[in-house]
């Protein structure tokens, strides 16, 4: 099965709105990280980019650790 990893699945990606407003001083003065226009975009701490979570992953991709549901 082919997996197309996305930035949204990467450990370096962070799109928590509270965190984004703290990370970009002044953003909440005339806009908001809770707005529809952001469309879940977030930052990549590895490459220093602002990206949508559906962007195809790069060579630095590191899968985020999630609780797995074991398959019987």
């Amino acid at each position: 099965m082919e997996i197309n990893d996305r930035c949204g699945d990467c450990e370096f990606f962070n799109n928590d709105p509270e965190w984004i407003e703290a990370a970009f001083p002044g953003l909440n003065s005339l806009s908001s990280a809770y707005a529809s226009v952001r469309a879940e975009a977030g930052t990549c701490s590895r490459r220093g980019l602002f990206l949508p979570p559906w962007k195809e992953s790069c060579r630095y991709f590191k899968h985020i650790e999630r609780a797995c549901i074991p398959s019987d």
Binding site: M1, I3, D5, R6, G8, D9, F13, N15, P17, E18, E21, A22, A23, F24, P25, G26, L27, N28, S29, L30, S31, S32, Y34, A35, S36, V37, R38, A39, E40, A41, G42, T43, G48, L49, F50, L51, P52, P53, W54, K55, E56, H63, I64, R66, A67, C68, I69, S71
Partner: protein, 463 residues
């Protein structure tokens, strides 16, 4: 490997797309629920002859008081209504921000401070000599908010209650209820033409100034170009993610937009006043040349007060900014995403953007504006002009306008209270130069189109 696949497929990519949960995870939708909810409650109260909403929408802005004793007696007489109003705001904003993920324990004290300051702003606006000294509530709120934020070290957690965008979006949906849909249909296309011409020229000016004159990165050019031409920080955020810009590009745009937006809030109303512009024309000019909804409403409302026709200025601004510019942000993002993918990222084998991104980035609160406008126009169409003036206007429209004004004052104060100049990142003189060239082109062109090309349309507003 199979275990890896299981991990991905057994759990949805939580951070990729919100899907249906956007309906409760985005403030745009909450602004719609609150705005439409208030309109429906006001309508039910009106149809049942109840004065509940009318009483609850109290504000001291229209007192025209000449002595403190008059003002104090107003509060002494109505303090229970103000307490009830505060509790109502706390409930509706408190619950919704809680669902959005904002801490209630931070929101409540912060909002109480905001409410108390708003009472002060309304009281200043309600002073009989306020307009004589240009003490327009939006401008006073902005300046006092800026002073507090930059002189008194307010704790950062208080930003939880200073939700600029949430309040302005709620106010815009409420504005829709007093905005005839017929006006949207008749003047909307003109606004769209003017806004599109100026947005294109401004964006291209900033982009080419940034990339060709100052030799800046093309992604930075796109981010600040859209910030200056379409929708300020929100536009920059959308484009930054569409083109995969650097974080520094967004920092730069935030700083440039915030600084220039504050300058424009003061510049346009006073220049318009000096030139004696019709408030509809000035509103259209603000809508063309201001960068963000919140800042633009502050400027348009302030000039509307100065010129004695707030309605015309707000209508001109709304047509130009909300309908002419905001709605198209998703399309701008899509176009830039296409350019980034097909031209800038060839070597990175970038994925073609999905047309659905237009919808994902669409500022959904605009839907609430249209629904409220259509709904209330349909309801009030059955009343004669005389009935409308005698009954509908004071008992239904006026309370909605008052609640909208509250939402706007919360927003104007919050702009100031969240703008801490010491925290803004340095933008650099090259981006500042490129952006400033765009601002000059935008303001000049916006003035020419608003006054000379389409002025006859905007002069008919507010009647």
């Amino acid at each position: 490997m199979s275990e890896h696949v299981e991990t991905i497929t057994s759990e949805p990519a939580l951070r990729q797309q919100l899907g249906w949960s956007e309906l409760w995870k985005k403030e745009d939708w909450w602004a719609i629920y609150l705005g439409i909810g208030i309109v429906i409650i006001a309508l039910i109260a009106f149809l049942n002859g109840s004065t509940f909403i009318k009483s609850l929408s109290i504000n001291p802005g229209g007192l025209k008081w000449t002595s403190f004793s008059q003002l104090l007696s107003h509060f002494a007489k109505n303090y229970q209504l103000y307490i009830l109003q505060l509790i109502s705001w706390l409930i509706i904003f408190g619950i919704s921000t809680r669902v959005l993920g904002i801490s209630t324990s931070k929101f409540i004290p912060s909002f109480i401070v905001l409410y108390a300051l708003s009472i002060v702003m309304f009281s200043i606006g309600g002073w009989a000599n306020a307009s004589k000294y240009n003490l327009e509530p939006p401008l006073v709120a902005l300046v006092i908010g800026l002073l507090i934020a930059n002189v008194i070290p307010l704790p950062k957690w208080m930003d939880a209650g200073f939700r600029v965008e949430y309040y302005i979006k709620t106010g815009i949906v409420l504005l829709g209820a007093t905005f005839p849909i017929t006006l949207v249909v008749s003047a909307g296309p003109v606004a769209l033409v003017q806004a599109t011409v100026i947005s294109l020229i401004t964006c291209l000016t900033i982009y080419f100034a940034a990339t060709k004159i100052f030799g800046l990165d093309k992604r930075l050019g796109a981010v600040i170009g859209t910030g200056g031409a379409v929708c300020g920080v929100s536009g920059s955020m959308a484009i930054a993610s569409a083109v995969g810009a650097k974080k520094e590009h967004l920092y730069t745009s935030v700083t440039l937009v915030v600084v220039w937006a504050l300058v424009m809030i003061l510049f346009i109303p006073f220049v318009a006043k000096a030139l004696g512009l019709h408030p509809g024309i000035a509103g259209a000019w603000v809508g063309t040349s201001e960068f963000a909804d919140a800042a633009g409403f502050a400027a348009a409302t302030a000039y509307g007060h100065m010129a004695g026709n707030e309605n015309a200025a707000i209508q001109g601004f709304t047509l130009m900014k909300v309908i002419g510019r905001d709605m198209w942000i998703g399309i701008w993002s899509f176009i830039f995403a296409l350019i980034a993918c097909l031209k800038w990222e060839k070597e990175e084998s970038g994925r073609k953007p999905d047309a659905m991104e237009i919808w994902w980035r669409f500022p959904k609160f605009v839907i609430g504006f249209f629904v409220a406008s259509f709904f209330m126009t349909s309801i009030t169409a059955s009343y004669s002009a005389a009935q409308f003036s005698k009954v509908v206007k004071p008992d239904l429209i006026a309370p909605i306008v008052s609640l909208r004004t509250w939402a706007f004052i919360f927003c104007f104060l919050s702009i100031g209270l969240t703008t801490r100049f010491r925290e803004l990142k340095a933008a650099g003189w090259k981006p500042f130069g490129a952006f400033t060239i765009g601002v000059l082109v935008n303001v000049t062109l916006g003035f020419l189109l608003s006054v000379y090309a389409f002025g006859h349309y905007w002069m008919n507003l507010g009647k």
